[in-house]
Symmetry: C2
Subunit: 394 residues, 2 copies
Amino acid sequence: MKKIYLSGANDKIARHGTMRDINRQIVLNYIRVRSPISRAEIARETSLQRSTVSAIVDDLAVGGLVEEIGTGDSTGGRKPTLLRLRSGTPTVIGVDVTPRVTTVAVADLTGNIMQKEVFPTSPDIGFMNEQILSKVKQFAGQDSNLEVGISIPGIADQLAGRMVYIPYFQWTDWDIGQRIKAETGLPVIIDNDANSVALAELWFGPTEIKKTRNFIVVLVAEGIGTGIIVDGQVYRGESGAAGEFGHMFVGENAPVKCSCGRRDCWEAHASEKAITHRYGLHNGSSNSFFDIDQIISLAQNGEKRAIRALKETAHYLGIGISNLSIGFSPQTIVVSGNIVRAWDLISEDINELASRSIRKEISVTRIRPSELADSPTTMGAISLVLSRKFASAT
Amino acid sequence: MKKIYLSGANDKIARHGTMRDINRQIVLNYIRVRSPISRAEIARETSLQRSTVSAIVDDLAVGGLVEEIGTGDSTGGRKPTLLRLRSGTPTVIGVDVTPRVTTVAVADLTGNIMQKEVFPTSPDIGFMNEQILSKVKQFAGQDSNLEVGISIPGIADQLAGRMVYIPYFQWTDWDIGQRIKAETGLPVIIDNDANSVALAELWFGPTEIKKTRNFIVVLVAEGIGTGIIVDGQVYRGESGAAGEFGHMFVGENAPVKCSCGRRDCWEAHASEKAITHRYGLHNGSSNSFFDIDQIISLAQNGEKRAIRALKETAHYLGIGISNLSIGFSPQTIVVSGNIVRAWDLISEDINELASRSIRKEISVTRIRPSELADSPTTMGAISLVLSRKFASAT
DNA sequence: GATTTGTTTGTTTTTACAACAAACCTTCAC
DNA sequence: GTGAAGGTTTGTTGTAAAAACAAACAAATC
């Protein structure tokens, strides 16, 4: 009920190293989630032998992933040696491209950001290449143990390390991943913003979410992206392009055109551009002169038309969320993006729609706003690397 | 990138047996899919050692799962000993409840049906209990190596072995699984019809689908159910109730009420009852005096109104399918149910809608009608057992 | 004689198990 | 109050067992 099998392709057989790999991951993740924790406690919880845990921890310590941080309190016997992830060493470079700003940051294994640079995103792709490459090189220095994660607001080709399409700038086939790899020699992993944010929630979100195996992140921004976590991993589908629920049909005649050109996508009804456009319409103009931040601020100060625009959008947001809730039956759906600042204004409308369910008995999916403090996409870019590092620990 | 990790719960550590379990599954599935096949060829393809494969095959032979069937042709050396799944021994009892008929069948490991009894499904739940139990007991005889799989058109609680709700008869909390287990002592596995059919496609469908890791079955019947196969396994979500995309929103004012009472579900727009109702409306009646089989036959003979009812329904079917295609990006979506008999009439309308996609470059999901000859739900009930047996081979 | 298949024998990796030493707490006699 | 004895907990060490790997070998065939 839990193992992969299938055949046809070369389904990973289990050699000896596989056993160690699996257990190493489990131990590493115990240290990550439950740190500070002792060898003995890991052994108790995993039902591995203490000796086995010790061997694995030695392994991890040599690899620079784990370190000892003194002893804990005794419970009647020898004091435990506490372990945690090694911190303070630059390990990850995150590159986070959003329509407005681009961030390049360096973090350690725990996701602690040690250095960061932010600059405005330019439609000039040559300029962007230059900027990003120079920052990455600067941060990388001589260190060749780093890995680079890139989050982009569009469709990414994980394997090829390039981006297929960014709607906002209409960039196609941007090979930023390959460029970084070629110029620095560092491993690169690239993914879209919604998947990145989903990983950020899994890694840096509230513990309630850290422990959730199945959840979905709905990222409301210029467009709408969905990041789907199945069994603690991003579901990417066959072509790596899964999670584009932003383009599912939720009704004709949306206020704006979707980035794909249609008017019936979820994105066209419920994204930030739908909000700004609705607000414009309510003001009798077909153009909106306010951006999403301003509209939210206006609404929070009681401006009727801004509130109306938000609540109307929340309705459509709720329709899409209910579809996801019914179809996936995840534990939780996390809504992320600027719109969560107005959560108290919109949560009621969202929940009203989203409580559509077949039967009341079925466990209801919890819908909650993202609680990630710092820029979720930047943390997401970092999480891309961490999730790989921790999944197939070197 | 491929291992589960997470913690909190007791994530399966790898002991020695785990290695053997994994490789046993892989070998067993090679024999299943590629039979007849020799030990040497399995070794070549899996990159396991010949000696290891031999040991595992011995294991499987002792367990009665595989058997030798003579030798194959030489390619310049000793002739290979060919292996296949052991056939001809009753191994699985499948119970398939549909709104019209209920089938109880006995099959061997290869899914060959050896005995079968069919009787009309009755709304009288006591009668159903009696009928099913007596047939199962009769088939089971003294044999205690059998396992029972149950497919039902509603929501199943896998763990508890009961069904939560069957819309068609409005049965709630039917404990048929527990009853069978109590009276026969045999292990029971229960699931809804769409998941069952998805497994049937994976196990008995065309080889193209057998080899697919990610696909979705859309089962069009009284209602609409979706069975989602992720990485060769049924995705059941947190509560086991995933795959109810039949209740996703696709537009107001459906011709009939959904089984959940609303008029905006996919099911209300695109199920068989939507077809019959539309046909009724086209004939100026709010009741339909024809069932789905008759309408399809009429359409195939060129009856205009029947064709219109089918094509209108195909449109809505296409909307839902496109949502799934965009969101999941599966290799294939398989449409199952009576409606596939009219595939040549509806495929165009479905594909027109379903080719909505973000970018043309993204690999297009293939939409195809089910090719399962015999009753797919019966094969599905059997597959439930097989998939468990083959996943954690005893 | 070369080649392919399947088996046998010994090696390696890795966990399980058991024994042990170190460090710490409790307590009880003096 | 103090210090020695006894019990617990932690982490390590050494050995056994499981299972894959590697290489050699026998059988069967071209």
